[in-house]
């Protein structure tokens, strides 16, 4: 019963979707203000989802089942990641051993579901988007994993979110050490790419390949993809808070940290043009990986 409550209501589905959609509105509003516009009202993203539920869902004459099931695969796994994360932050002692590795895998699932869905839609532009998404995953996973390793080494080799938080409660946040700040920078860029926002919105590049991976999706299935984006926007900043700023996790400070990270994402999104896929790969495998590797070395030395 408690597990179902956790999955469906509190750290899980309902909360994740609501917070994610509000963060999505925050993104749109701040972008609008930066461009000297007014921006949509706060309930705009909720209305978009409700509207998409009421629209017709068109399924192309292709591999129907993978096309229909791919969004649900991504949605269920990202919600599970959000639940594990939320539980670990609520009660650090209850988290299970090795959950950081489970979360690492679950956070890759939305990208994989997009690749599956896009390639089963048999649309040439969608397949271009899928191939770009695949390359981007290859690009950002390496620095992301390296920065996680830096955090794990820093926290005396524990691969449990709860004990990482406990370590930070007793020894101070990771971000205030040399290795911590470098790992945070690398993980931040990886997060930007995972969320699919500019400068890494290559797979959905609207001006080049229309909607990229989402081009054939409509109605309910598109709404599920929008919800995946929303839950990602909930889970990824929380993971970063958990790994790098885990010292004070009171409600007010947690919300302030969350808003701060989302604000940083939006500012980076609005001030950078979209990269080409080769530039993005070079960026991730070059500077970002070097920074992440440096942080691993510094963490091993003990800085």
């Amino acid at each position: 019963m408690k597990i179902i409550f956790n999955y469906l209501i509190f750290p899980g589905l309902f909360t994740a979707v609501c917070v994610g959609l509000l963060a999505g509105w925050f993104d749109r509003k701040i972008s609008a203000r930066l461009q000297w516009r007014v921006g949509p009202p706060w309930y705009q993203n909720f209305i978009d989802i409700v509207k998409l539920f009421g629209k017709e869902t068109i399924i192309p004459r292709s591999s129907r089942w993978t096309f229909i099931l791919a969004p649900y695969l991504g949605f269920l796994s990202i919600v599970l990641a959000a639940v594990i994360l939320g539980k670990a932050m609520l009660s650090p002692l209850e988290s299970f051993y090795g959950d950081i590795i489970v979360i690492l895998y679950l956070l890759t699932m939305p990208a994989i579901s997009m690749i599956i869905g896009a390639s089963s839609s048999r649309n040439p532009l969608a397949s271009v988007g899928a191939s770009r998404e695949m390359k981007l995953v290859l690009g950002y996973e390496l620095p992301f994993v390296l920065s996680l390793i830096a955090v794990i080494i820093k926290c005396q080799g524990s691969i449990q979110l709860g004990s990482i938080i406990n370590y930070q409660i007793s020894f101070g946040s990771n971000i205030f050490s040399f290795s911590g700040i470098l790992a945070f920078i690398a993980a931040f860029f990886a997060m930007q790419a995972k969320l699919g926002l500019a400068p890494f919105d290559i797979s959905e590049a609207e001006q080049e390949i229309m909607a990229g991976t989402l081009i054939e999706y409509s109605g309910l299935l598109l709404a599920v993809y929008k919800l995946i984006k929303a839950v990602m926007l909930y889970a990824m900043p929380l993971l970063l808070i958990c790994l790098f700023m885990g010292k004070d996790l009171g409600w007010v400070l947690l919300i302030l940290k969350y808003i701060g990270i989302v604000l940083l994402i939006v500012l980076v999104k609005n001030t950078n043009p979209r990269m080409r896929i080769d530039q993005a790969l070079r960026f991730f495998w070059g500077p970002v990986t070097i920074v992440a590797a440096l942080s691993v070395i510094l963490a091993a030395v003990g800085l």
Partner: protein, 141 residues
């Protein structure tokens, strides 16, 4: 009024098709999204794929090449979807009326829900058109 129509009128995603226009109407449509007439306030968004569209904006005189493509695009859009004709060319073929190339006006090809006249229409005219469209949808189409 059902929640479905309410949500539809509050978030209209627009797919923009130019079938042989001189590009003026298209620029005026983009003007609606600039700071002065920010219509994202009302939830209107330009989107890239016709599968996401709630409204198809058509500009330009429909020539022989673009008519079959236009029909295909309309069939691909998920219903409910409205068709909006923007500019004099889309309304009445304007100066191309007696051209060998432009045989029929738009509303003989597709069911048009809203006409926005002008050559090109001002952004204000487009916004007032959106308001009329919302009123029409609320009354029940």
């Amino acid at each position: 009024m059902s929640i479905k129509t309410k949500a539809l009128t509050k978030s209209i995603w627009v797919f923009h098709v130019s079938c042989g226009s001189c590009n003026n109407c298209d620029i005026e449509i983009l003007d609606c999204f600039t700071p002065r007439h920010d219509i994202e306030r009302f939830g209107v968004q330009l989107i890239g794929s016709v599968r996401h569209a709630d409204a198809i904006l058509i500009t330009g005189a429909m020539n022989r090449k673009s008519v079959p493509r236009m029909k295909k695009i309309y069939e691909q859009a998920p219903k409910p979807c409205v068709v909006v004709a923007v500019g004099q060319c889309a309304l009445s073929r304007h100066m191309f009326r007696y051209s060998y190339n432009v045989r029929e006006p738009l509303d003989e090809i597709l069911p048009v829900d809203l006409y926005i006249p002008g050559c090109p229409p001002k952004p204000e005219a487009i916004i007032s058109g959106i308001v009329k469209l919302v009123e029409k949808l609320n009354k029940g189409k």
